[in-house]
Symmetry: C2
Subunit: 304 residues, 2 copies
């Protein structure tokens, strides 16, 4: 089984228990549009945290007030972020989403030692990409959160990525650990670590994934090129997950996918008690919608 589009995630049968999404500082039109979108609202129950009056007004203008939702008053960004994490601790929400506030303020509450939500000592950024020129959804990590992952951190990035892919129904996702070539070059630390990751994951987690590394992008994604170069592996031409050496490589790849390859992207933060939706300033309602669909699937842990 493989998933080829975000649209497929929207087509699943509504679950009797809706996923409760807490939106921090929900006075954000694009966020509201995505939450009350006709396919999304079948699956989610929005818990909107922020200035009640302002949010209600935005909802009324769009005729969203007829659908189920909850409003929780918060006077400012900091208060909203704190209430959001509190509601997670009280098991009242299943996902947290950033609304109209500074990323810094939002994350500060999540990583707070007292009341924060970090469960895995590392938050990571996952991008799931739908590409016109690739035959299924492709997960890339980490292009947004962990600047220069150590070897131990790369293992966590992989576990987060596997969790996401498994929740999308891919039981044994195929992982490519990216390099400039398929050869290990002792002068390129990331290529050495790529091979080490492959060996360790093949030994310990062969029931959870296929893995190959270092592998170049073309060998990971193109069966045709793998065949020309006579390169065979379980991953070649069919990767579900791409792990990169650092944030710059994966940020550049991610942006080239949306900008030059006209892909669609859904982003997610993993490593907290619940999946976190953190879309950027420039994200439109569709990008937010795709991120909600993804978070919803992860939150349900594979009940897709």
């Amino acid at each position: 089984m493989s998933i080829t589009s975000f649209h497929q995630l929207a087509e699943i049968t509504p679950h009797p228990n809706k996923v409760r999404i807490g939106v921090v500082y929900a006075n954000d039109l694009a966020a509201l549009q995505s939450l009350f979108d006709k396919t999304i609202r079948l699956h989610v129950f929005p818990v909107l945290i922020g200035p009640k009056k302002k949010i209600f007004q935005q909802m009324e203008e769009r005729n969203y007030t007829d659908y189920p939702y909850e409003l929780v008053e918060a006077a400012n960004e900091e208060a909203a972020a704190q209430i959001g994490t509190q509601l997670v601790h009280e098991k009242k929400i299943d996902c947290l989403m950033k609304g109209h506030l500074q990323t810094r303020t939002f994350l500060k509450a999540i990583v707070s030692k007292e009341q924060g939500l970090v469960s895995d000592s590392l938050l990571s950024h996952i991008s799931v990409n739908q590409l016109p020129n690739y035959h299924k959804l492709l997960l890339t990590t980490d292009g947004g959160m962990v600047a220069a992952p150590t070897y131990e951190e790369k293992k966590k990035l992989l576990h987060h990525a596997i969790t996401v892919m498994q929740s999308l129904g891919i039981k044994k996702p195929k992982i490519g650990v990216l390099g400039a070539t398929e050869l290990v070059n002792p002068n390129i630390q990331s290529s050495v670590e790529a091979e080490k990751l492959m060996i360790e994951f093949e030994e310990k987690f062969s029931d959870k994934c296929f893995i190959d590394g270092p592998i170049s992008l073309d060998l990971a994604l193109s069966q045709e090129i793998a065949s020309i170069k006579e390169y065979t592996s379980a991953v070649a031409g069919d990767a579900d997950i791409l792990l990169g050496p650092d944030i710059t490589t994966m940020n550049v790849l991610g942006k080239s996918m949306t900008l030059l390859a006209k892909g669609k992207m859904a982003g997610l933060i993993m490593g907290a008690q619940i999946p976190i939706i953190l879309t950027s300033r420039g994200s439109d309602a569709e990008e937010k919608k795709n991120a909600i669909l993804l978070a919803m699937s992860v939150s349900r842990g594979g009940e897709i």
Copy 2:
């Protein structure tokens, strides 16, 4: 002025002095096809080095023997590579092109201390990309040669890139030094160096280029995103050159451009006495043709 396609390079008026391209181990059908292509042969004079009989036979089969060319006998790959460099020293050829031999053997002759061709203490790889979703040719470096450039090496990469762009008629190319964001992060060495490069080049080479760094891929290439993020610079949304932090980032970007963004690529090695065409195993005649057009322009140093 800006160049939007390789096709434009082919449309220039033939120069009375053809560019003499030495092909090392020229018994390579894709290389011959590209050299005798009807647009290319107006501009180049092929000097074909290798097993004469075999090359002649391949040419006869395709009816290429009526066009001007020269055959130089070489018994094996090593001999061909050595003759190629010798002919450069004798000023008998203007460009060198890899034919049907190991890259290692080809490069060994070029970097040889006795008879090699290295003029700048560093060979670098330049990719020029024609992309369906970008408004002009885009140069990226270095995704193929220099694994982990030092600060001093990055300056050389930039000089090579500027030379190439200027030979294409872009008098003051716009350079983006890539980062994950536009902010300098002391934990990310490449972002620190990106800013340092910007300051140094603005001070010393403001007549030769515009430069911005660190800059993210979307800000460098998309005027729309730069405008949403209220980011202004001479480079934003209009980069001619992208310098990356290391080979993996730029290799991944290059491959995503050809594979996912359906771009066309021409590769070139700079830093030798003459431009060097080193296309990969998988390259077809069109890719070789584009590389020849590019090398031709660089060889003529801007007489386009």
